[in-house]
Structures are given as structure tokens and as C-alpha cells.
């Protein structure tokens, strides 16, 4: 965990510095009182101090302990899922909810390897159609139709 703490605290220090610089560009204090950058400057400042303290503490710490679980495992599956979700978000409005969901869920079921390919496709199709009917038709949530807009 020591190594992880060094990396994360350093990363947070950079974020905190960026917050402080961003806040300085906004006005921190005006003649009428605290400006729009006041709170974020304070937050960034305290964040910097805390992460700097954690950084130094981890750097000079002699105990390693608990590092086993800290590094990501199964990176391939995680990356595949995240890529599928990015695809989903990118094409949601173009392809529409049903088609986009069908494609992404077929892929997710395929990587989960819990059922045969034809069952995965049938499951994804019924899931995409079923959730559209439930959320859009019954619960009134506006989901994009995309390419299937001609069904209107």
C-alpha cells in the first residue's frame, strides 16, 4: 500500500495544484465579499496540504503491508467492459437505445461466458427490448430511438 499511497497522493497533489491555479483565474475575493474562486481555492489548498502530508508519510514509511490487493487484476476484462461502455456512450444517440444496448449486452454476455452464443444474443435482444418497454413506455423515461426512429 505504501507504493500505491505515494502514487495516489502525488496525483492528488497535482489535481490540488490545478484546482488552486484554476481558482486564481476566477476571482477569490471581491470588494463585496468572497468571489467564485474562494471555496475552490480553499478546498484545493487543504487538499494539497493533506496529499503532501500523505505523500511524505508514505515516502518515509517503512511498512509495506496490504499491497497485494491494491494493484488491478483481470485488467483485460475490465478494459473490455470499459471499452464497450465507451462505445455505448458514443453511439447511444446515433444507433438508438435498443440497437446500442443489444450490441453492448451481446458483447458483455459473451465475455462473461455464462451461456452459449445464441442464448447470449436472445438474452441481449430481450433485455434491450424489455428495458425499452419498461423504462420508456411504462415509466416515461425518454430513451433515444436513433436509427430506429422510423418506427414512430
Amino acid at each position: 500500500m505504501r507504493e500505491i499511497n505515494i502514487y495516489t497522493s502525488f496525483f492528488i497533489m497535482i489535481i490540488a495544484l490545478a484546482i488552486c491555479i484554476g481558482s486564481l483565474k476566477l476571482s477569490i475575493y471581491t470588494p463585496r465579499g468572497p468571489g467564485p474562486g474562494f471555496m475552490s481555492f480553499g478546498t484545493g489548498g487543504i487538499l494539497f496540504l493533506l496529499s503532501f502530508h500523505l505523500f511524505l508519510k508514505s515516502l518515509f514509511s517503512r511498512t509495506e503491508g496490504g499491497a497485494k490487493d491494491a494493484y488491478p487484476k483481470n485488467i483485460k476484462t475490465t478494459s473490455l467492459i470499459l471499452s464497450a461502455l465507451m462505445f455505448y456512450a458514443l453511439f447511444l444517440e446515433k444507433l438508438g437505445f435498443i440497437l446500442d444496448s443489444f450490441l453492448v449486452f451481446s458483447f458483455l454476455f459473451a465475455i462473461s461466458r455464462t451461456m452459449k452464443w445464441y442464448a447470449s444474443i436472445a438474452c441481449s435482444l430481450s433485455l434491450a427490448l424489455g428495458s425499452y418497454v419498461l423504462f420508456s413506455v411504462f415509466l416515461g423515461i425518454g430513451l433515444p430511438r436513433g436509427m430506429l426512429n422510423f418506427f414512430r
Binding site: 463585496r32 467564485p36 484545493g44 476484462t77 461502455l85 438474452c123 433485455l127 423515461i141
Partner: protein
């Protein structure tokens, strides 16, 4: 008081509200039973569905999910040894051991009955405490709110399960995220990078869905919880006379302790269940039985976590301060419906307040009737492989993220926070303080800036007013008390170094 209770009944007994109460507790139990999707993510998912409802109906549905999940969580803990909810972790210790000894029935029975008693106690506590606290809170101005929120944030951080320093960092990141968007006082754009989607700030639903839904899925896939063995043989759900004798006082103590710990910011069901387990073990004449199937180890914590759900509503409804993630979501749900949680809520919206209280009482009764006969269905649900469950959970998070504002941008936000939530858990940063910082950030900033405008920039305004001074001094004492053991440790190390 009786007129108000009758008003509550008249609201809840409307068919639509009764139906929503039933649906809420059923969904709550379901997500409590299934590991992977907690009440926070579920409430965030159903949040957009409630936009078209009346405020009372919306809050009845969402609150039902919260306390329903506490009931459901115990089933998974007892039968599978995997906590369906964080608050049910302790129940695994003795509950699952009882199940292995062939006593799954009494464990499930006492969990449900104890929860019902605790739920009733917490509803009564809420009724008794809410009205005087609201009257007291009417004296609060911006400095008092700043003091209260600072104390609340400090308590959240102080009660962190892992590192206090990391919890504070999480909370500060949350406060910063709440700053994104157009400033309400000066109308200046803050950290929007010119993106129109960020003018209104980062939306709560994708943030919560990402941190608690997707983040949890990614972590579960990595840990691989697909291979679970479920105890399917459940008989004699009603505890015997000896079980009752052993459990009565733990249930009563758990109910009272849980309620008061629920009121504390950062307290809530998880802390209450741990505290109750510790208390019962300490009071027991035979503490060695704990961890080996002691029914008190199920009865106390299960009562405590249910009672804490009622306690959590006290600061939300009377002070307008959410104390945990679920309360933060309910706070947003009320705000969206034009209902401002706080001291004026009971006067301005008695139907919302009393309707919610009575729905919690009825909901607890529904849960008792519903849970025990449906045990076999919950057992079947637990056999669904995670490979099928996780795409479903992801689908809910995607729909939830998109549906609030109808923007694909929010799906990206959800994915980003999913990765953030996953990494935070890996690096032992708790996501809950981040959400609370995010929710309270706006009010904290507004109260701080308004106070400084009132005092022409003097920070002494917070110490000149007794209520805000008391809150801030208490917060400082908490932080100092947390630093003392660290200082002592450091002094000891220095002494050792000098001796060497």
C-alpha cells in the same frame, strides 16, 4: 400529534402511495439480497422515474428501497456468507454459522422480527425528535449552518472505516466537484472548460451510479464472486422460546443504539450494526459464543441497522442535512420536487413528512409479512450466476445515468466515476465521503460566503454566535482527539530512537 398521524395515514392509504410503498420495499429487499447493487445506486437509478410523481409518492418509494435493503441484506449474509449490504457484514459472523448448524430458519426469523421491532422504535423516535429539533433549527442562520455542516463533514470523516486522512481527501474532492458549473452568487463559470453540459454542474445520479454501481461491478468481477454456495435448506423460521429469551434485550438495545447512531452524520446502518455487535459481545456472560452461532449476534446488529435507517431521516428532515449517501439522494429527490428539506418542512409540507413516517411504519409491516414467506424465492435469486447479473446491473447504471437529463454526456460521466470508484476502493479511499462532500458542498459554500458577506469578511462571526461556535469547537475537538493517538505514537518512536 394524533391529527398529524391521521394525516399520515390518509396520505399513505391512498392506493398509489400504498402500491409505491410495497414496490419500494420489494425492490429494496431484492437489491439487498443480491450482492453488487446497493440502495444508493438503486435509488439513483429510480430517481428519474420519480420525477413525474407527487413528492410524497416519490419519497415513499425511494425511502422504501433504503429500509427494505436492510432486511434483504441479512438473507444473503445468513445463507451465503456474503453481505448483500455493507450493514449486513456483521450478520455473516453468527448468522451464517447458525445456518451451517442447521438453524438458518431462526436466524432469518429473528433478523426479520428484530428488524420490525427496530423499525417501529425508529419511527416513534423520529416522530418524537423531529418536531422539537425543527423548532430549534429555525434559529439557524448561515453561520450556524456552516458550523453544523462542518461538524457533519468532520463526523463523516472521523467515523471513516479506514484512514481518516483519506476520508478527508475524498470529502474535499467531493466539495470541489460540487463547485463545477455556474456560480449561483456571481454567475461566473467555474471549471466547465467551455462545455455546455457542465454549466449546470455535474449531475448527482451519474456520479452515484458510477461510484457505487459500475465501480462495485468492476471490483466484484475482479474478486470473482461467481462461485457461491447457498444454504437452501431452511425450516422453522420462528425462533424458539430460548431464542426469544436470548434476543429480546439485544433487539431493544440495538434499536435504541441504532437510532441514535443513525442520527449522527456518517453513522447510519453500517456503523450501528458494528457498534451493536460489539456491545452485545461485551455485555454477554459467554462472549466466546460470538462468532460461533450466537443468536444475539444476529438480533442486535439487524435491529440496529434497521433502526438507524429511521434515525438517518432526523437530520435530513429537520435540519436539511443529509448524513449518508442515501439521504443525500433523498435530499436531491425532495429538492427536485420543490420541497426544501429543513426546519420548515414539517410546517410547509406536513403531508410529505407525516406521509413518509407512516409509510415507514407500514413498510416495516409489509416487509415482515413479505420477507419470511418469500425466503425460497430469494434463495433462488441468489443462485443466478454473476456473469448474468453484472450486465443487468451495468444496464441499470447506463439507463439511470442517461435518463435524468437525457444526455449521452452523463453516460461518460458515469463511466469516469465508475473507474474513479473502482480505483478509490483499490487504493482504500472511501467513496461515501466524496458523495457527501459533493451534496453538502453547495450549501457549505453558500453558508460560508453569506456569513462572510454578513460580517464584512470577519471569520469571528462563526465564534461570536454560540450555536455555530459550539458546532465548530466540537468539530475541532474531534479532529484533535483523532490526532492525539498519532502524536503519542510518534513521541514513542522518537523516544525509542533517542534510546538507541
Amino acid at each position: 400529534m394524533w391529527e398529524s398521524i391521521l394525516l399520515g395515514f390518509s396520505v399513505v392509504l391512498q392506493p398509489i402511495n400504498l402500491l409505491l410503498c410495497f414496490v419500494g420495499v420489494l425492490i429494496g429487499t431484492l437489491i439487498g439480497v443480491l450482492p453488487g447493487l446497493g440502495p444508493g445506486a438503486t435509488i439513483a437509478l429510480l430517481f428519474p422515474v420519480t420525477l413525474g410523481m407527487a413528492p410524497t409518492s416519490a419519497i415513499i418509494l425511494l425511502a422504501g428501497i433504503f429500509y427494505g435493503a436492510q432486511y434483504g441484506g441479512s438473507t444473503t449474509s445468513i445463507l451465503v456468507n456474503i453481505p448483500g449490504e455493507a450493514a449486513s457484514v456483521v450478520t455473516c459472523l453468527d448468522g451464517h454459522r447458525m445456518a451451517l448448524q442447521g438453524r438458518a430458519g431462526p436466524a432469518l426469523g429473528i433478523a426479520a422480527l428484530g428488524s420490525f421491532v427496530a423499525g417501529t422504535v425508529s419511527v416513534v423516535g423520529l416522530m418524537v425528535l423531529a418536531v422539537p429539533l425543527s423548532s430549534f433549527a429555525l434559529r439557524f442562520g448561515p453561520p450556524e449552518y456552516f458550523g453544523l455542516l462542518t461538524l457533519g463533514m468532520t463526523l463523516v470523516v472521523y467515523l471513516a472505516q479506514k484512514s481518516v486522512q483519506k476520508a478527508l481527501i475524498s470529502a474535499l474532492l467531493g466539495i470541489f466537484i460540487s463547485q463545477v458549473g455556474i456560480d449561483q452568487i456571481s454567475s461566473a463559470q467555474r471549471f466547465t472548460f467551455g462545455l455546455g453540459e457542465l454549466f449546470d454542474g455535474i449531475s448527482m445520479v451519474p456520479l452515484v451510479m458510477g461510484l457505487f454501481g459500475l465501480g462495485e461491478v468492476l471490483l466484484s468481477l475482479e474478486r470473482g464472486i461467481s462461485k457461491i454456495s447457498v444454504i437452501t435448506h431452511v425450516k422453522n423460521l420462528l425462533p424458539n422460546l430460548q431464542d426469544w429469551k436470548d434476543s429480546t434485550w439485544p433487539v431493544i438495545r440495538g434499536s435504541v443504539l441504532g437510532f441514535f447512531l443513525g442520527v449522527l452524520p456518517g453513522g447510519g446502518p453500517t456503523l450501528s450494526s458494528f457498534a451493536s455487535y460489539g456491545l452485545e459481545k461485551r455485555l454477554s456472560k459467554r462472549p466466546e459464543r460470538f462468532g460461533n452461532g450466537a443468536i444475539e449476534g444476529v438480533a442486535g446488529p439487524e435491529a440496529a441497522n434497521n433502526s438507524a435507517t429511521g434515525g438517518s431521516f432526523v437530520p435530513l428532515l429537520t435540519l436539511g442535512v443529509p448524513t449518508n449517501v442515501v439521504m443525500a439522494l433523498l435530499f436531491s429527490a425532495l429538492m427536485v420536487h420543490g420541497v426544501q428539506p429543513g426546519p420548515l418542512l414539517i410546517k410547509q409540507y406536513p403531508d410529505v413528512f407525516w406521509g413518509l413516517i407512516i409509510s415507514m411504519y407500514l413498510g416495516n409491516a409489509i416487509l415482515l409479512v413479505l420477507n419470511l414467506p418469500l425466503i425460497t424465492i430469494w434463495i433462488k435469486l441468489l443462485k443466478i450466476p454473476y456473469g448474468i447479473l453484472f450486465p443487468l446491473i451495468i444496464m441499470f447504471t447506463l439507463i439511470g445515468a442517461y435518463s435524468e437529463r437525457g444526455l449521452a454526456f452523463d453516460v461518460f460521466v458515469m463511466i469516469v466515476f465508475g473507474v474513479v470508484g473502482y480505483l478509490m476502493r483499490k487504493c482504500e479511499y472511501e467513496p461515501a465521503p466524496l458523495v457527501l462532500g459533493f451534496v453538502l458542498g453547495d450549501i457549505l459554500e453558500e453558508s460560508l460566503r453569506r456569513s462572510l458577506i454578513m460580517s464584512d469578511g470577519s471569520v469571528f462571526i462563526f465564534f461570536e454566535r454560540p450555536i455555530s461556535a459550539a458546532f465548530l469547537i466540537f468539530a475541532m475537538l474531534l479532529l484533535i482527539s483523532n490526532s492525539i493517538p498519532l502524536l503519542k505514537e510518534r513521541l514513542k518512536t522518537l523516544e525509542k530512537v533517542e534510546i538507541i
